[in-house]
Symmetry: C2
Subunit: 224 residues, 2 copies
DNA sequence: TTCAATTTGTAACATTTGTTACAGATACTA
DNA sequence: TAGTATCTGTAACAAATGTTACAAATTGAA
């Protein structure tokens, strides 16, 4: 498991010795869940950092009439989930977490983060830096997404995401198919196709298979 | 100035003594800017936490053809800005910050946060907790906003924001006028008015002056 | 290769939302 | 109080996007 932990954002840059030290001093535990098990429920107080080691976890909430809606899905080893609620110091998650397949979760008591005493060891500083980086990344990513969603027209949304992801040569590799891109932009897939084709006709870009090449950078920027 | 700092998110829960200790040990400085002065520019490396003490600051970026677009505005005493870039450990802000009126900014070197040595003082732990809380709040807020924006229809957006802000009795006080609400939801004001009135006709809610009262909570939830 | 499954572009039409203009309501000031 | 500015709802129309269905293109596997 250590090999996986070393690659996670939380333990990035730490030696195996340091990671073990963290796990021991923090009282971290690995908990196994079977398919369908609840990992935490809505009313529960967020007291542990949850890191997915193996499996798939969905975050959702129950509305008052009992309907369930899924807010997020995690399936990458090393990902944290629910950590925002931990650091908000909220009295309850307002969401539940459920394993959709068998899962293993590393759980680190939050108290560990909030107690610097006797921790002039480097691992503590590294972990703090990592946690800050994780939260900052999340805020940064959400902000990027919001800027796309905040565009008034579909053409503007496309311009935004293309500019955000363009490499120096003007090549854009989004790593999404049309359907996923449409979901990301929150539009219907045929609407997306239509607008992409229109933009190509207008000479703004060139579409080749999965790749898109920006022809007129300035014009795209002027749309925003 | 201490009185203001005590109310800021960054120094929340700290005594004046502790705050002074922080300022001294961190090498923090208060810098004055005149109207129009650049506080940091796009290529600059983010090395200091910036807290607005007085004035107004806009964050923006220059696109390649020289046009400027404003991304955010800060004018609340005690607010941090640009902190996400600091904790991302990026090599450059990709934005500039500019004072739009005379401003005073408290600047705290980031190194202070990343060095726990000899800091078994309680103020360090408190500050870490506060910084984590600030970032978590930002992520939480952005996520809330994103959930509203991700709704497919205007009616769903309204349902979402009303449910997010409803008190137990079903009263919703948004503290925004129609124009601001329309901006927040990213729709045209007349479209917003039209949909609100339709929802009232459908019996979902009741509008009284600035306040909105939810009549049928379940039906609103079922929209989502 | 060949076939089936998936992805993508297209078109016609329905629906939603934006735009513009204006009048009644509300809030603010002299 | 009167008068002005701002906010809000309304309506007619324009424009953008969603919906549905389908065929061409692409991918992946046998």
């Amino acid at each position: 498991m250590l090999a996986e932990l070393k690659k996670s954002m939380l333990f990035l840059g730490m030696t195996e010795t340091e990671i073990n030290e963290c796990l021991k001093k923090s009282g971290a535990k690995v908990v196994e869940y079977k398919k369908g098990d609840i990992i935490f429920h809505q009313k529960e107080e967020p007291l542990k950092l949850m890191m997915l080691i193996e499996g798939t976890v969905v975050i959702g909430n129950n509305s008052s009439d009992g309907r369930r809606s899924v807010v997020a899905t995690f399936n990458q080893t090393g990902e944290l989930f629910g950590e925002v609620f931990v650091f908000l110091n909220k009295k309850s998650y307002d969401h539940y977490a459920q394993a959709t397949v068998q899962a293993r979760i590393l759980q680190i008591p939050k108290a560990f983060i909030y107690n610097a005493e006797g921790r002039n060891d480097t691992y503590y500083t590294k972990m703090i830096a990592n946690v800050l980086s994780i939260l900052a990344h999340k805020a940064y990513f959400l902000n990027q997404r919001l800027q796309v969603m905040a565009c008034a027209t579909l053409r503007q949304k496309l311009a935004k995401i293309l500019l955000q992801n363009a490499s120096v040569g003007g090549e854009v590799r989004l790593g999404m198919n049309r359907e996923a891109l449409a979901d990301f932009l929150n539009v219907a897939r045929p609407s997306l196709s239509r607008e992409l084709m229109k933009m190509q006709e207008d000479g703004l870009l060139r579409i080749e298979k999965k790749n898109i090449y920006i022809n007129k950078l300035e014009e795209l920027e002027n749309l925003l």
